[in-house]
């Protein structure tokens, strides 16, 4: 169990929780977060290294209970788990939709630190829901904002903005995290352009350690083989963007 060191609002529905402890993790890896007596669920690590942290949207009972934790309260953490992003090339494009910024912000940190030129497309429903814009800009990324309602940056989906950037500039690699249709759309664009790509995907997680099969995606497991997959793998997935397993193990439409 770890003690909460800091707990702050990013937007009305998104919070960041940081811990006193350090975690030795790659951007893209995740932890299982236990809110005692309520639930345990996966969360990407949004700050790696010292005082590691998570950034989450309040969507249901578990995240609501988590949002009430005060500084000094205890939270259970298992992990880090899974495979993270690998940073390759000199110029990269990062596309983050909604809570997808959580695992990609530390990727931006790490890439800029390595001297890689980073363009970040940050998509959100509205300007009030943008997270880590200034953090990423301060890290040295060129930040391009898109909002569904046009309240800030370009109006529309992140994919639209991303594809116009790809037309303008050559990238060595593209990184995506966000809603699954955003990932499949980005995968289409990258395949057509012959661009390497990595994306982080989500599935129901129970064990987090590769035994329960609940996060299965065409025989691969998001918890151990992912959550970050490369384009080659993404293209092989017949279920991506179409179906996911529910808690009983039945495929259901996304």
């Amino acid at each position: 169990m770890l003690r909460v060191a800091e707990h702050r609002d990013e937007t009305p529905w998104t919070k960041t929780m940081r811990f006193k402890d350090a975690v030795d993790a790659r951007p893209g890896q995740f932890v299982m977060v236990w809110v005692p007596g309520v639930d345990e669920f996966p969360m990407s690590i949004s700050y790696v290294g010292d005082r590691f942290g998570i950034t989450y949207q309040i969507v249901g009972d578990g995240t609501k209970a988590l949002s009430k934790a005060a500084e000094g309260d205890i939270v259970g953490i298992r992990g880090p788990f899974g495979r993270g992003f690998s940073i390759t090339g000199k110029r990269i494009l990062v596309v983050a939709g909604g809570a997808g910024i959580a695992p990609t912000a530390p990727l931006v940190d790490a890439a800029t630190k390595k001297g890689v030129a980073v363009r970040l497309v940050l998509g959100a429903k509205s300007s009030a829901e943008l997270v880590f814009e200034s953090r990423c800009a301060a890290a040295g990324a060129e930040v391009h904002v898109s909002t569904d309602d046009g309240s800030k940056g370009q109006k529309g989906f992140a994919t639209g903005l991303a594809s116009s950037l790809i037309e303008k500039e050559r990238y060595d690699s593209v990184y995506a995290c966000g809603p699954e249709r955003m990932i499949t759309a980005m995968a289409d664009i990258c395949r057509k352009r012959g661009l390497p790509m990595q994306a982080s995907v989500e599935r129901i997680m129970k064990c987090g350690i590769g035994v329960c099969d609940s996060c299965a995606l065409d025989g691969k497991h998001v918890c151990t083989d992912g959550p970050v997959f490369d384009l080659e793998q993404l293209e092989k997935f017949s279920e991506l963007g179409k179906t996911r397993l529910d808690r009983t193990g039945r495929k259901t439409g996304i």
Partner: protein, 305 residues
């Protein structure tokens, strides 16, 4: 090179290792991957008549000595799952269908549907320690075990395995009951009932409070159970519990197991564990002069110089 093939109730397995029920076996694609990685057969997740979500999270606790789980038997129900079984069979994989039920009739009905879907054998899970009304509760007395096996035996033509609980004062009595009830083989052991508490949170960690202990912690208990059962019945025994190396598998085989199942080690060593176990066994057989697995089955019973 030693021959690793084994005959199990008329089924020919290319090697004596199988994927244990409940680990990476809820979807066809995963089971096929595990078989490709080296398992001689796969046992499916335990499936019941209707879909179950299983217990809430947390449903696993990682321990130094193994794993504590309370998945709560999540499964999509036999109707849906029949398609998964067929998909696995299409790839030529030997598949054993594990089934659960709240009563002997329900269990027998699921078993019949599992066999109809094409499972090469059916494994009755009479031993899950953490799901109410399923598992242990219908498998904790010899009377229950016998009755339940008999009911399923009447409806299933393929070999019928009874998977027993170690949470008992005499697993031999349960094994004898399974044999009387018509089971073609006994599988031992399922997990031991356990609990982990977080002192900081002052509560049990698992949402279900109780769970099943698996992994290296339970190997000495499983080996003992198989040794006792081998003395008690004539039907084959399938050993499971804490196997992660060839040497572990050999302990079970020499105790009397015709084949072994591997669950938790897939966590610690990945699906490659099956090949690694087989390689170990094969090296051992070459060094110690065994030409077939069968020559080692129960070998630890016959020697006292």
């Amino acid at each position: 090179m030693a021959d690793l093939g084994v005959d199990l109730c008329g089924l020919r397995l290319r090697n004596p290792t199988m994927l244990a029920s409940g680990v990476l076996d809820e979807t066809a694609a995963t089971m096929v991957e595990v078989a490709r990685a080296g398992a001689g057969a796969v046992v499916t997740k335990s499936v019941g008549m209707s879909p179950r979500e299983g217990h809430a999270n947390p449903c696993v606790v990682e321990l130094d000595v193994g794993l504590l789980n309370a998945m709560g038997l999540p499964n999509p129900g036999i109707e849906y799952f029949s398609e998964e079984v067929k998909a696995v069979k299409r790839e030529g994989v030997t598949v054993i269908g594990s089934v659960i039920g709240g009563s002997e009739d329900e269990l027998a009905a699921v078993a019949a549907l599992m066999a109809a879907a094409g499972a090469d054998a059916v494994e009755l899970n009479l031993s899950c320690p953490h799901a109410k009304g399923l598992g242990t509760e219908i498998g904790s007395t010899p009377e229950d075990v016998e009755r339940v096996c008999r009911a399923s035996k009447e409806r299933v033509k393929v070999p019928l395995f009874a998977k027993l609980t170690p949470n008992t004062s005499s697993i031999s009595n349960l094994a004898r009951a399974a044999e009387r009830g018509g089971a073609d083989a006994v599988v031992a052991i399922n997990t031991l009932k356990g609990m982990a508490i977080s002192p900081e949170a002052r509560m049990p960690i698992l949402a279900n409070r109780f769970g099943g202990l698996s992994g290296p912690a339970i190997r000495p208990i499983g080996v003992r159970c198989v040794y006792e059962i081998h003395d008690a019945v004539e039907i084959p025994v399938i050993g499971v519990g804490g196997i992660s190396t060839g040497r572990d598998a050999l302990e079970y085989i020499m105790a009397g197991a015709t084949a072994v199942q591997v669950g938790t080690a897939v966590w610690t060593r990945g699906p490659g564990v099956f090949k690694s176990i087989c390689d170990d066994i094969s090296r051992f057989m070459d060094e110690y002069g065994y030409s077939k697995v069968d020559d080692m089955v129960g070998a630890a019973h016959d020697t006292r110089p």
